[in-house]
């Protein structure tokens, strides 16, 4: 999977590395700010009030 990705990317090795680093940063941003907050509702439900 990652080997194929490396082969389809254009340019010399350092350009490919740069593209991958940017892609990783984008994926992490999406996970930390959108996916994980959404998922935490189901993984770790919390109640802090008395009722």
């Amino acid at each position: 999977m990652y080997g194929a990705l490396w082969r389809v990317l254009p340019g010399p090795w350092w350009v490919r590395l740069l593209i991958l680093l940017v892609a990783v940063a984008l994926v992490l941003y999406g996970l930390f700010f959108y996916v994980f907050p959404w998922a935490s509702e189901f993984i770790n439900p919390q109640e802090v009030t008395v009722e």
């Binding site: 999977m1 990652y2 700010f33 770790n44 008395v50 009722e51």
Partner: protein
């Protein structure tokens, strides 16, 4: 296939890192930033209304105005609507950068998740006789009450509104069942007793990452500092003990 499984494992580990550490760094920083900009907004509004608040020395020799009283009878705001921000909370024990907004209501979707601290509807507002009760997360969402169990007797709990600062002093902690609504009574856990003092109650989850119990912190009112007198020593003086 092996790479897919490794990726899933890495994402799961990333989730754990986010849940326990990174997510709270992000949320807490965001929440402190909006609270501080709200505080600056209030300060500017107050300065615009009373431009003489900072007198400059003039040549006419008029005596300087009396310094504003440092304490006064507390001004009690009307109760806020669900999700409506009306105050900031500062707890010096939780660090000099700790600041979080307080809004009306204790629903997760409107107040506790997006804003921070929620005010139990029907309980007293800050400064009023009776019990002002608040709830907030102890884990996740910036975890405003994460260190509630670290409070020492006498620690300042300071609430800022456009009118000024309400200083409460922490008294004691308690662990109760989730149904223990009597901690919200005008005198906590004293049914049918009229309050003759001003109290503050904080509730959060206990143990951390669990819903089985609630941790409750009680504080009692010390003083109200009007906006014109500037931030009180309870806020600027740091942690006392």
């Amino acid at each position: 296939m092996g790479e897919v499984l490794i990726t899933v494992g890495v994402v799961a580990l990333l989730y754990v890192a986010w849940q326990l550490w990174i997510g709270d760094l992000i949320f807490a920083a965001q929440k402190a930033a909006v609270a501080k900009s709200l505080s600056e907004e209030w300060a500017q509004e107050a300065a615009a209304v009373a431009p003489t608040a900072s007198p400059s020395p003039d040549a006419t020799g008029t005596p300087a105005p009396e310094p504003a009283a440092v304490t006064a009878d507390p001004i009690v705001l009307p109760e806020a609507d669900d999700g409506q921000v009306f105050a900031n909370l500062y707890i010096p024990r939780f660090g000099p950068d700790y600041a979080v907004q307080i809004a009306g209501g204790v629903t997760r979707e409107k107040t506790l998740d997006p804003i921070g601290v929620g005010h139990y509807p029907g309980t007293s507002m800050p400064g009023a006789v009776g019990n002002a009760a608040f709830a907030a997360h102890r884990t996740t969402y910036g975890k405003p009450f994460n260190r509630i169990a670290d409070l020492h007797v006498g620690d300042a709990i300071v609430i800022e509104t456009p009118e000024g600062w309400y200083t409460y002093r922490f008294r004691t902690l308690e662990y109760v069942t989730p149904e223990s609504v009597d901690v919200l009574l005008p005198v906590p856990q004293e049914d049918g007793v009229d309050a003759n003092g001003r109290y503050l109650t904080m509730t959060s989850c206990s143990p951390m990452f669990s819903m089985s119990e609630r941790i409750v912190g009680y504080s009692s009112f010390e003083s109200f500092t009007p906006r014109s007198a500037g931030p009180p020593a309870s806020l600027t003086g740091g942690v006392t003990s």
